[in-house]
């Protein structure tokens, strides 16, 4: 009985954590390569959610099919944002970068309110709350899919960054911009690509969240802050760190909720965050002097 409850809590925590991980990967990747904190990150999640909502309402396309379209649109959008806006403040003061991206986030919230009205939207899917029972554990389908997708996307990105030529050039730019330029890497193109991939992953995260969370124009702010916490926890710019940090927070919140009641679960993640900050301020996966 107790084992069953614990196992169920673990599964719930991992599922929630997978979503957190997916939401955070794009942020940490953009930071790792460009040292830019994307303050419009949450709005990218929001756009992903609305794209999937639009595809469903206007075209009747299932969110799990439209997610591919969302990825492509968000990639193009991210690359465009990088080229038109972010590239121009790459050398500027960090606060100018932050205010520029906050301006973008305000603009996106405004556009969302304009096109979709500030009312909460939900995707009416037959399987939104459906679960399957496996070995006595109830697995919620949308969250399970989101968890699996985050595993797949994180692994695919990892292989892409480690093995492919383009991936290696991205990592080279993250290591040293000048050195990458010297060996003939087109740094501007790599930045565009990275921002595009970051936006695409984040948009996909939003699309996968759409079946299980209400969609509003201002939903992004919450996700932004959560992603910041996960990314700091897992060391900023560290790809696997964000992934594991997301899972850790998901599991910790699930067990915190089990032990202390549902409404204090965020406090648990905050406590972890503060402890990590005090004991290992570079984050869980940071080197001592980075």
């Amino acid at each position: 009985m107790y084992v069953g409850v614990l196992a169920q809590t673990l599964v719930n925590g991992l599922f929630a954590g997978g979503v957190l991980a997916l939401v955070s990967i794009g942020l940490t990747m953009i930071y790792g390569v460009m040292i830019i904190i994307n303050f419009a990150h949450g709005e990218f999640v929001m756009l992903g959610m609305y794209l999937s909502y639009w595809a469903f309402v206007l075209g009747g396309v299932d969110p799990y099919l439209s997610v591919f379209m969302t990825a492509i649109i968000m990639f193009a959008f991210g690359a465009l944002v990088q080229r038109l806006l972010v590239q121009r403040v790459m050398a500027a003061h960090i606060l100018n970068q932050i205010v520029l991206l906050l301006g973008l986030s305000i603009l996106l919230v405004g556009l969302a309110q304009f096109f979709w009205m500030p009312v909460p939207r939900t995707l009416q899917l037959p399987y939104a709350t459906a679960g399957v029972e496996v070995a006595g554990l109830i697995l919620n389908i949308p969250r399970g899919v989101a968890f699996l997708a985050s595993l797949v996307i994180a692994s695919a990105l990892y292989v892409f960054l480690q093995r492919t030529r383009v991936g290696k050039s991205i990592r080279a730019c993250a290591e040293s911009r000048e050195a990458a330029q010297l060996v003939g890497i087109n740094v501007k193109r790599v930045y565009m690509l990275t921002f595009g991939i970051g936006a695409a992953v984040t948009g996909v995260a939003g699309a996968l969240l759409a079946p299980s969370y209400p969609i509003t124009p201002t939903v992004g702010a919450t996700w932004s802050v959560i992603a910041f916490v996960v990314v700091v926890l897992g060391t900023m710019g560290n790809f696997m760190g964000a992934f594991l940090g997301g899972l850790l927070i998901g599991v910790a919140e699930a067990f915190g909720g089990l032990l202390l009641g549902g409404d204090v679960k965020e406090v648990v993640s905050m406590l972890i965050f503060i402890l990590v900050l005090l004991l290992k301020p570079q984050g869980l996966f940071g080197k001592a002097d980075s």
């Binding site: 403040v89 520029l100 973008l104 405004g110 096109f115 005090l278």
Partner: protein, 355 residues
């Protein structure tokens, strides 16, 4: 962001009809900025003669308050280069201090607002200790303060003494100078302008003192400042202390004026942009007049957009404001003060040649 200090130049006053002190101010960028700030404050003080609508007076009160909070942030971030992005934490904690003292203990805001400065200052010391002790660098310190803001929001949401999620409000028992409650907006305006004038003075004194020189040295090159014998930890802490204590006082006045506070309202990224970030960055971070210029431009723009476009389809005001911020960052990266400095400098050179 950095203007070099130049000694007041000697010029022949006789050729001009203006008195000497006029040239002393005109030819010294720092003094000119202070004079400009005081003129703006004076203009805000006489505005109630022409503007009587409560709605517009309310905007002026908040503009003065936002300028004040902007100055408080300018000292730690603009002068000393400490990236305490979520400065709103200290404003929020100050607001809560004042309202808890008022609501739970019946203590007048005249005492509650200084107490807010004390509490926020202590919190600022703690934050400063953490960032120094653990060597949190720029981006990390920035995100740390944002995470701290979220933690505060969660904490205040759970804590019954501060009203939990519902927050706390000022109960109105009629007009009373002793309890800082007024029916009209003008008394609030004069309190806000008093705070703002004090902030302008404090900012100028800090800037012109050794303290300010050390802070700017730390901002420009911390390693070099340290090598020259500047106690960087001490001056960073002092900058944060002054900044956060002033922020807390601003929060105390904020809650007295808007009469209620909730966790999600103050520990909030959008509120942080509105009350802390937008003004100084639009006006010119690190300059003396920047926070005031920024607030005077930003706050009315936000309010007028909201007023003018409220009848339009939802979101229009946010679209315009977002575009405004983006355009501003792309084309006026050093803020209005940075924009004005170029023409000012050539004018000064021309005058000096003539003199």
């Amino acid at each position: 962001m950095t203007e070099t200090l130049s000694p007041p130049p000697k010029i022949g006053h006789k050729a001009f009809l203006w008195p000497g002190w006029f040239w002393d101010i005109l030819l010294d960028w720092d003094r000119l900025q202070v004079a400009g700030s005081l003129l703006i404050i004076l203009a805000m003080a006489v505005l109630p003669i022409f503007v009587t609508a409560s709605y517009y007076l309310g905007i002026i009160v908040l503009t003065a308050l936002y300028a004040y909070v902007g100055i408080s942030w300018n000292i730690s971030t603009g002068f000393a280069g400490q990236l305490l992005i979520a400065h709103v934490i200290f404003v929020g904690v100050g607001a809560y201090t004042t309202i808890v003292l008022l609501d739970r203990f019946g203590i007048s805001p005249w005492l509650g607002i200084p107490a807010a400065g004390l509490v926020s200052g202590v919190l600022g010391l703690v934050v400063s200790y953490i960032t120094l002790r653990y060597g949190l660098k720029a981006d990390y310190a920035a995100l740390f303060t944002i995470a701290l803001m979220l933690a505060m929001s969660l904490l205040f949401n759970k804590f019954q003494l501060v009203g939990a999620a519902a927050g706390l409000g000022v109960s109105f028992h009629g007009e009373s100078l002793k309890m800082m409650t007024f029916v009209a907006k003008t008394p609030y305006l004069y309190i806000a302008l008093g705070l703002l004038s004090a902030a302008v003075a404090v900012q100028y004194l800090v800037y012109r003192s050794k303290l300010g020189a050390y802070m700017i040295a730390i901002r420009e090159n911390e390693a070099a400042a340290s090598a020259l014998g500047v106690n960087t930890a001490l001056y960073k802490t002092l900058a944060v202390l002054i900044s956060t204590a002033m922020g807390g006082i601003g929060g105390g006045f904020y809650v007295v004026y808007v009469t209620f506070v909730q966790p999600g309202q103050v520990f909030n990224l959008s509120f942080n942009v509105a009350i802390v970030l937008a003004g100084p960055i639009i006006g010119g971070l690190g300059s003396l007049i920047g926070p005031i210029l920024g607030a005077v431009v930003n706050k009315p723009i936000v309010e007028l957009l909201r007023g003018a476009l409220a009848a339009q389809r939802g979101g229009t005001d946010l679209i315009v404001y977002g575009l405004f911020l983006i355009t501003f960052m792309l084309f006026v990266p050093k803020g209005i003060a940075g924009l004005l400095y170029g023409p000012y400098d050539s004018m000064r050179r021309a005058l000096q040649r003539r003199g």
